[in-house]
């Protein structure tokens, strides 16, 4: 088992004919993901190394039975593409695009929530990897192998860092989910941690948070009430000054709210172990899981 993406994933890529879109679609296919189609308006009928391109998501879904969309188009077109995929009946939409206008994001999120038929991951995220099964996005899959640690993170490279230390200790991953660094993520820690709790393959959950918002604080309450598996957390941004956006649009301490310290304390108060460095997170995870297999 794993969550969200696996061998049943049938992926359709919006923006497949762009440079990045092509590169990552092919990398995802090379990994074994079923990339069944792509969407680029005006380029329907073409193909990208054998992957058929369609003008609309509706046509792509009708012709390929795509059940997952990956959004790779530039920011000004991204919310529209998300809404098109949702309208076409795609049930999982993974938005990689960074820099989508906040009000566009809010509208797309609100429509998806209201209709209740699709899940949005991201935007501004590295995607989802279920090692050995499917990779949807830009996560460098070579560093990860199949295993029992589920990871959910607001940051891509930080996930690679922690995953790498775990891999060096002999552990692998059930699924790695990047929920993204924007202020209005389509899915929160709570959504993904709930799925990992229900996933039989996952025995331990690692969550990587950062400054800004209250997603980590709400996750702490959720974990206390609903999660029986061990959870190890990392929070980035202890030294971030207030009022400065640290790279991710969502990573900002506003006044006294959204600090790393408050998040770490909220998690620890609910019994979640918090590592001070990525290495320490991996060490705690290893100690909780026992000796490497």
């Amino acid at each position: 088992m794993s969550i969200l993406v696996d061998t049943n994933t049938r992926l359709c890529v919006s923006g497949i004919t762009g440079r990045e879109g092509t590169f990552h679609s092919l990398r995802n296919r090379d990994y074994g993901t079923q990339v069944v189609g792509g969407v680029t308006p005006g380029k329907g009928g073409q193909d990208v190394e054998g992957i058929p391109v369609f003008n609309t998501f509706h046509e792509a879904v009708a012709r390929t039975d795509a059940n997952t969309a990956m959004i790779f188009v530039p920011p000004r077109f991204a919310a529209d593409s998300i809404l098109e995929a949702e309208d076409a009946g795609v049930s999982l939409i993974i938005a990689i695009t960074e820099g989508i206008p906040a009000h566009d994001e809010l509208r797309a999120y609100s429509v998806i929530k209201k209709n209740g038929r699709a899940r949005l991951i991201g935007p501004n995220c590295p995607g989802i990897l279920s090692p050995g099964k499917a990779n949807v996005g830009i996560i460098p899959a070579a560093f990860f192998k199949q295993g029992n640690v589920g990871v959910v993170s607001r940051s891509g490279t930080l996930t690679y860092q922690i995953g790498n230390v775990l891999a060096q200790s002999g552990f692998g991953n059930s699924t790695i989910v990047g929920i993204g660094g924007d202020p209005v993520p389509g899915s929160d820690f709570i959504d993904i941690i709930g799925m990992l709790q229900d996933d039989p393959e996952t025995e331990l959950i690692v969550m990587c948070g950062e400054i800004g918002g209250d997603n980590e604080e709400r996750a702490a309450d959720f974990i206390a009430d609903n999660v029986t598996k061990p959870v190890v957390a990392y929070i980035a941004g202890f030294t971030a000054p207030p009022g400065k956006t640290m790279g991710h649009a969502g990573a900002i301490v506003s006044g006294t709210r959204g600090t790393a310290k408050a998040k770490a304390e909220a998690l620890e108060s609910k019994g979640v172990r918090v590592g001070r460095t990525p290495t320490e997170v991996a060490e705690i995870a290893v100690s909780l899981l026992g000796a490497a297999a």
Partner: protein
């Protein structure tokens, strides 16, 4: 992007939000002439993006021409909590019967716009929220529905505004919501929102934050950006397409990915060091971007040592190494570098660095080891 008060008021005026009449001034002569035209008494207000202007002496009432000159002269060039005043806003003095507070904010938690109204205006609203939370009426608006008249009525009644101004206050909230949506703001705040003795409702202040990601749709707003107010090093980084935040330490930091860079700052601080900057070179950085980033980092004379922390996904270790080698050819840095390369093409990258044999460049295999090393080097050369 944060707007200055007068810029916010000009945006308000375009959307029919009532504001006192006023004029912008950058010199004492301009301010005095504006004051003569507006009439006395008028208010001379420092235009800086920071709270507490009044307490700092940055807002003064002038009753005649001479006073207008005196106040403008005193306020221009004044330092308010680290910011120098270069601009003034001169506006007609308003008589105040009541001071309220109104705002529309992007509520990340609820993932919806939040409209707030309180009769406790003119003071720090966070303090009101702490000491008297019931004094603030709050309402989330479904962004697909938009702000309805009943929303305004409900907020006005719940906040307990004077009965005769329920309608105009509700109308004011509707216009502020219109500003929020049309201009793609993440914050629209009026504190105080005043009721005059004639029972007019006006915005006496304006705090507007615009979403940077949407400025391409609002070229007029994009022009309001004031590059002279930005830190020169941050401006240099922005021109080069780098995500950069200046900090006050002495260890230059370069990494890839916002989360990893934030984490690097923390790990350096835990090792006893003090970072000079946040710099995310981004995904897929090529050698020239790395060279360019090194130039930005070293443009800060406080930097005593530099740490590269790269975990390559899209970014390739060999490109990072080539960029650093090129930077050494181009600018011949005198401070030591510690390089930690992992991930895609890390072996190739480390080999390139070994072959180049750059002076004062140390490679480390772990993030923690690299942080230790750079802290030692910075301490030794400080």
């Amino acid at each position: 992007m944060d707007l200055l008060e007068y810029q916010g008021k000009q945006v308000f005026a375009r959307h029919g939000v009532p504001v006192p009449s006023g004029r912008h001034a950058q010199t004492v002569d301009e301010a005095a002439s504006a004051a003569d035209d507006i009439g006395y008494p008028c208010v001379i207000k420092a235009q800086v993006q920071i709270g507490g202007r009044g307490k700092a002496g940055g807002i003064k009432v002038a009753n005649d021409h001479d006073e207008a000159r005196d106040h403008a002269g005193a306020i221009l060039g004044m330092d308010i909590r680290g910011l120098t005043v270069h601009e003034l806003w001169v506006e007609a003095a308003s008589e105040i019967a009541s001071e309220y507070y109104a705002s529309v904010v992007f509520d990340r938690s609820a993932k919806a716009p939040l409209v707030m109204l309180s009769t406790k205006g003119g003071m720090d609203i966070e303090e009101v929220a702490d000491t008297d939370p019931d004094a603030i009426a709050r309402l989330h608006v479904d962004p697909l529905l938009g702000f309805q008249e009943f929303h305004g009525r409900r907020l006005a009644f719940e906040a307990g505004v004077d009965a005769d101004v329920v309608r105009p206050v509700g109308a004011m909230l509707a216009r502020l919501y219109d500003v929020f949506v049309t201009e793609e703001a993440t914050l629209v705040e009026v504190n105080p929102l005043i009721v005059t003795p004639e029972r007019d409702v006006k915005a006496l202040d304006a705090k507007v934050t615009l979403d940077d990601n949407s400025l391409f749709r609002h070229p007029d707003n994009a022009e309001l950006r004031d590059p002279s107010a930005e830190d020169p090093q941050e401006r240099m980084a922005k021109e080069r397409g780098l995500t950069f935040v200046k900090l006050d330490g002495n260890i230059g930091i370069l990494g890839n990915g916002a989360g990893l860079v934030m984490s690097t700052l923390d790990v350096v601080a835990l090792a006893g060091g003090s970072p000079a900057n946040f710099l995310d070179a981004g995904g897929g950085s090529k050698a020239d971007a790395i060279t360019s980033a090194v130039e930005v980092i070293l443009s800060n004379p406080s930097v005593k040592a530099v740490l590269f922390n790269i975990f390559g996904g899209i970014t390739r270790g060999d490109e990072v190494a080539r960029g650093l080698i090129e930077a050494f050819k181009k600018i011949n840095p005198t401070v030591p570098f510690v390089v930690r390369l992992d991930g895609t093409n890390d072996v190739e990258g480390r080999q390139l660095l070994a072959e180049a044999n750059l002076p004062n460049v140390f490679t480390e295999s772990t993030m923690d080891g690299a942080a230790q090393k750079v802290v030692e080097l910075a301490a030794a050369s400080a």
